[in-house]
């Protein structure tokens, strides 16, 4: 079947949406290659099909068999981004995969929120440990009226706030911070491994 302008526009529209979806998580050369391969698939299917009863139905059937472009993009994401994150365990691929799932699924969004809280908390503890030797009078446990109200750094220290805690804060903050960071990282990797195993293929 040779496509009319309308049919061509439908196929090009499909490829455009696929390309836009893939661009969010794949390098440019991988996007080009993937779109080229999907286009090759479509051209083969179109060439082999009969245009009856009408071209529009035939094109829609071919596109439906291929799957919606977002679903195809999601399958690429599952195979590439998540695979890389789980197998390497490196921070950047893990963050990229978590972000990818956060913007594409509801569960992914809430898990990403929990992971962000974990990473921020861990980094905050590490920052406390690092800042204590530089600002010994501004970093520690803050007490108001004898009650502990927070742990951290205050610049300047508010009136009525009593800052306690000597240099022992450093090892405790560093151990807690690194522990939380490692725990969050392991949690993220386990979550991605779970996601990979239930991926749609």
């Amino acid at each position: 079947m040779t496509l009319s302008d309308v049919g061509e526009a439908r196929v090009n529209g499909y490829l455009f949406v696929l390309q836009r979806s893939l661009k969010t998580f794949l390098p440019a050369d991988a996007v080009r290659d993937a779109v080229r391969e999907i286009e090759s698939h479509l051209r083969d299917r179109i060439a082999a099909v009969d245009a009856s009863p009408n071209e529009r139905d035939a094109v829609e059937r071919i596109l439906a068999e291929l799957g919606p472009p977002l679903r195809v993009a999601q399958a690429y994401s599952a195979e590439r981004t998540i695979e890389e994150a789980v197998t390497t365990g490196r921070v950047v691929p893990i963050l990229r995969a978590v972000w990818q799932l956060a913007v594409s699924t509801v569960v992914g969004f809430f898990v990403a929120l929990l992971l962000v809280i974990g990473y921020v908390t861990g980094l905050a503890f590490v920052a406390i440990g690092a800042l204590k030797p530089i600002f010994p009078d501004n970093v520690g446990i803050q007490f108001v009226n004898g009650f502990p109200v927070g742990l951290g750094a205050h610049f300047p220290l508010d009136a009525g706030v009593d800052l306690r805690g000597g240099y022992w804060v450093i090892p405790i903050a560093l151990v807690c911070g690194l522990g939380i960071l490692v725990g969050t990282q392991r949690g993220a990797r386990k979550y991605l491994a779970w996601w990979r195993n239930r991926r749609v293929s």
Partner: protein, 114 residues
């Protein structure tokens, strides 16, 4: 676990083996692999999801991908088993046969006991 979930997991678990088997007799392009799978199995649910798997198998070094121009009106990407892929396919096929034999034995024992 529902019957559908179990079947879906089984399908996903065997898709890599099925794709490697499809190219074991010689290089094939994506659509030809899909058509081969469709002729013998019902493993392909959405055609577009086969391509990312082919990409992963290529990155893992099990398949070699080459664009061929001039054969059709448009270029086609052919996949062929690499040496590593051939070795892995032999291991997977042996493991699969062994697995099926064990489950068959288990089912036979269960039927005898009934």
């Amino acid at each position: 676990m529902s019957h559908e979930t179990w079947q879906e997991q089984l399908r996903r678990g065997t898709l890599d083996l099925a794709i490697l088997l499809s190219v074991s007799s010689g290089p094939r392009y994506g659509l030809a692999i899909i058509q081969h799978l469709e002729a013998f199995t019902d493993l392909v649910v959405a055609e577009g999801t086969i391509y990312p798997i082919l990409g992963r198998l290529t990155r893992e070094g099990l398949l070699d991908a080459t664009w061929v121009e001039g054969e059709a009106a448009h270029p086609r990407k052919y996949y062929a088993l690499t040496r590593l892929g051939t070795r892995r396919l032999a291991e997977m096929a042996a493991a699969w046969r062994d697995y099926v034999k064990k489950i068959d034995r288990l089912m036979a024992a269960s039927e005898r006991a009934r």
